[in-house]
Symmetry: C2
Subunit: 204 residues, 2 copies
């Protein structure tokens, strides 16, 4: 059966945003195994309730094919497919700034592979920067247990250079130098607004 | 079977964002019956390609329960439910401004009923305005074939007043006075950035 997607691309077999139900429940009991994404989502909730920023994760785009409407209960989607997102995962507003970012994890110790990005995410950053947006990546180095806010401008420079230099990653050292370190905390767990303040100060 | 949603609310039986497949196809043939939402989506595509603004509709939030992974083909979602969105439908960046809006249609001639909004959308506007965002509603009066950009500040004033005055709608006259008229066009079909420019000029 051929499924035609609106953007002409096949839906990915595995979707980073999809979380099976049991995983979601596991998170609720004792916060074991909380993913980087989940920590960011909770940090965003914290920032929202503290009236510090309004930043949300975008829902995973789904192509719905068939829906059942059972009597006296909620509509059930019976056939649907994951679609490729045309933007990054997070956006919102912080002190008049339009904020746009992606969250990425790597197990690598020495570098951050550029294959973590899709062309459309890079293109979206480019479009946003053109409008004066504040764009970055939150990179989690799981081996080092370290988090950095890395500006999209620097990411784009590395992305564009790879076709000339063949360098398919950004070294950990470069990220530590050009990026802004985020110390994991309790509330919020990923206090990225502090790093963002430093980045905004440097930009001005 | 009890389904527990993350926000503790039942999924709505009908979701404004859900479009059956046949409707999407109908739009492609001769543009008959194109919905207001579809016109806005196309206007956003126009603005994006013309590098005038980066504004996207957020995907409908879906709670996924069961997914099949057939061999050699895309993952199929077999059980999922519509969730209540916690934000408005559209956001993005325009000339450094964070833009956030809802699109609403009414068949009413004399007024725009406030029941078109959910409490959480109003709350989201309040949170965004607190951060210095530009928030509004695009209202389509189908009987008049007229479109207005109506500032969120004025909407919130009407929303808050209804509990005292009992007035559950905003009169067409008020919207025509305080709002910014949008003349339907060809490319883009809903040229709302022109109205937005007027609104921004008035705000400054």
């Amino acid at each position: 059966m051929a499924i035609h997607y609106p953007n002409g691309k096949k839906a990915p077999l595995h979707d980073a945003n999809f979380q099976p139900k049991k995983q979601v429940q596991a998170v609720q009991f004792g916060k074991r195994g909380m993913s980087f994404e989940e920590k960011i989502n909770r940090s965003n909730e914290y920032y929202l309730t503290q009236q510090m920023a309004v930043i949300h994760k975008k829902p995973t785009p789904i192509q719905i094919v068939q829906v059942d409407y059972p009597r006296r209960s909620a509509a059930v989607i019976r056939e649907a497919y994951f679609r490729q997102a045309s933007t990054t995962d997070y956006n919102g507003v912080y002190q008049k700034h339009y904020i746009d970012f992606e969250a990425k994890e790597t197990q690598n110790k020495q570098s951050f592979p550029l294959r973590n990005f899709h062309e459309h995410q890079i293109e979206h950053f480019r479009q946003c920067l053109h409008q004066g947006a504040i764009c970055f990546v939150l990179i989690w180095f799981s081996a080092h247990h370290l988090c950095y806010l890395y500006p999209a401008e620097d990411l784009l420079a590395a992305w564009d250079a790879q076709h000339k230099t063949g360098k398919k990653s950004i070294s950990f050292q470069t990220i530590a130098e050009k990026g802004f370190k985020i110390q994991e905390g309790y509330a919020p767990q990923i206090p990225y607004l502090q790093a963002l303040d430093q980045y905004l100060q440097k930009k001005e």
